[in-house]
Amino acid sequence: MKIRSPQDFWSGVVFIALALVFIVLAQQYRFGTMHRMGPALFPTLVGVLLAGLGAIIAARAFVLDGLPVPRFHARPLIVSLVAIVLFGLALQYLGLAAAVVVLVLTGAYAGREVRPIETLVLAAFLAVFSIAVFVWLLGLPLPVWPV
């Protein structure tokens, strides 16, 4: 047996895996009856449906020709996610001004070319802009400085 459509095959696998997580976790709640549905019933129903669809998608990949999975580019993905997480940490402990600067300085490395001075200027501009718009103009309760 040869996988003729890797993209479909792996989507099927992902769907099955996620469905199983939900089905298994759902079993700790009360199932109830059709008349009085418990919290486990509907998720189990949808989970089984998803797993079934995943199985069909994966099985079909052995029959129908399809595309390979495109290459995962590690750098933009990982740098972006790290930048977002750092923003969260910085916002909690250092306030909005520092968080925006951290986010821009880190996030810029998700791109191909980084111009350090330009990025610094951009970070400063966006920090001032965000504080002006979100805190002063819109009055949203964001901590601006370290607490």
Partner: protein, 499 residues
């Protein structure tokens, strides 16, 4: 007559100076962000959502609607000048619009797009005013079983009309429903699928999902394939189309408006489908058969009218049934919930000022778009010159701040990161995010209606087939699936979506 007096009442609400201001701000910001290449209307609405938190429900919705059609129009500007559609519904505009720009006729292309959108918007507003109330009245009579079947039908229809593999799209709907069930179950109080995280008790944030799947993920994919852009910024000239242009385009605009208004109402319809259909129809029946694809102005007028009409009439199922037909409408429903309003047919009777004010504001918004876009084209063009390396960190900033300000929880920022990773993986596997968002919004409502229906019927599932309206919805859903799965239809659908 009643419609007229309702519209006048709505106009009274919408013309309050505050609402006019928010409508203007919405249109302006929407166009501003929409013009930027690589940011679609869903991401635009999601990023600008925090701007409406401090407002009441009516001004908030009026502003969001303004943002939506502003973004829609801004996308067309990008399509014509840069050949990169700012969003999928202006893909067809690039065909003839960019060719016009290459021949030095960028001005008239932008002008006819604005004029066509304006006419279409005005007509679509009337369509909403006439069709929404009877639909809402009908929906008020629905029992839970009918509502459940309607949602099944809505989801199936949305999926059938979406791009890509049908079965994957249905799987994405299911995944969306499951993600929507995370959090506290309203009936039993059980906190489901929270992985021991107390913060997940309120469920996943829909803003986080929308931003992850349509904002951050898009940036990451764009960064992988950064390419050269061709901007035709230097030679715009007059944006006013000639009398000849207007004469040629008259019927194209009329056809685009009609088609767009109808297709927008369908679940899964809206701007994207409308613009594709309008372009294809135009290519078939426009006379004299000039050369489409080489800068025919009708190839801009028809899809631009259609996508604006479709964008507006897609408010009908959202306002009257509480059912989103596309991801942007899902965001609107989310915005309503943030404002503490349960979406559904009761909105029209319980909050008439919201309902009619929003509809009337669409008129005002369309006037604003016209006066905003024609003179300000120069400003928008300068925005296009902003390189992506400056743009994408700004998108990060707006997404992160936006997601935090929904509930002021740091946890939501981490959610954004995790969901972005999920979105990236799914996109790489060629799974479209739109069905997932619809499932996410409808999931909890489906469960609740299913539970109530089963309660009433003493656990007898045949109730869905014995009640005629419910049976009709389910039958229609099955019919759609069968029709699409049939080989002949499938070939047609693929051909139509490819073009």
């Amino acid at each position: 007559m009643e419609t007229l007096s309702n519209l006048l009442f709505g106009l009274g609400v919408a013309l309050g100076w505050q609402n006019v201001l928010y409508c203007f701000v919405g249109c302006f910001l929407g166009t501003l962000v929409g013009v930027l290449p690589g940011i679609g209307p869903v991401a635009t609405v999601a990023m600008l959502l925090p701007f409406t938190f401090g407002l009441g429900p009516a001004p908030a919705l009026i502003m969001l609607a303004g943002i939506y059609y502003g973004a829609q129009y801004g996308g067309s500007t990008t399509a014509i000048l840069v050949n990169i559609p700012g969003e999928s519904s202006s893909v067809v505009t690039t065909l003839d619009g960019h060719q016009m720009a290459r021949r030095g006729r960028a001005g008239p292309a932008l002008g006819i797009a604005a004029i066509g959108s304006f006419i279409a918007g005005c007509v679509a507003t009337l369509v909403i005013a006439y069709f929404a109330p009877p639909l809402a009245e009908l929906a008020l009579k629905f029992s839970p079983s009918e509502y459940f079947s309607l949602m099944v039908f809505g989801l199936v229809a949305a999926v059938v009309l979406a791009r890509g593999s049908l079965i994957k799209a249905i799987a994405m709907v299911c995944l969306g429903i499951l993600l929507g069930l995370i959090g506290t179950d309203v009936n039993s109080g059980a906190i489901r699928f929270a992985f021991g995280q107390l913060e997940l008790g309120d469920g996943l944030g829909f803003v986080a999902i929308a931003m992850a799947f349509f904002g951050i993920t898009d940036v990451i994919i764009n960064l992988e394939q950064e390419g050269k852009q061709e901007v035709f910024a230097s030679r715009i000239g007059s944006v006013l189309p000639t009398g000849e242009d207007l004469r040629v385009c008259f019927w194209s605009i009329a056809r685009g408006t009609g088609l767009g208004s109808i297709l927008g109402i369908l679940p899964g319809g809206g701007a994207l489908l409308a613009s594709f259909a309008a372009y294809m129809v135009e290519k078939k029946i426009a006379k004299p058969p000039r050369t489409f694809g080489e800068g025919d102005i009708r190839g801009v007028a028809a899809p631009e009218s259609a996508n604006n009409a479709g964008a507006q009439t897609s408010f009908i199922p959202m306002l009257t049934l509480g059912i989103p037909s596309n991801p942007t409408m899902a965001l609107m429903i989310g915005a309503l919930m943030i404002q503490g309003i349960a979406p559904g047919p009761q909105v029209m009777t319980e909050r008439p000022e919201l309902f009619w004010g929003l509809i009337a504001s669409m008129w005002i918004g369309n006037v604003m778009l016209l006066v905003l876009n024609l003179p300000l084209v120069g400003l928008w063009i300068r925005l296009l010159a902003v390189p992506y390396r400056l743009l994408f960190p700004a998108i990060f900033v707006f997404c992160c701040i936006g997601v935090y300000t929904v509930d002021n929880k740091i946890f939501d920022v981490y959610q954004l990161a995790v969901l972005s990773a999920l979105g990236y993986m799914l996109l790489k596997l060629d799974c479209e995010p739109a069905p997932l968002i619809l499932g996410f919004i409808l999931g909890p409502m489906m469960e609740e209606n299913l539970r109530r229906a089963m309660m009433i019927s003493f656990g007898d599932p045949t109730v869905f087939l014995t009640r005629p309206i419910s049976a009709a919805f389910l039958l229609a859903a099955v019919g759609l699936l069968v029709a699409i799965a049939a080989p002949a239809m499938r070939a047609k659908r693929e051909e139509a979506l490819k073009e």
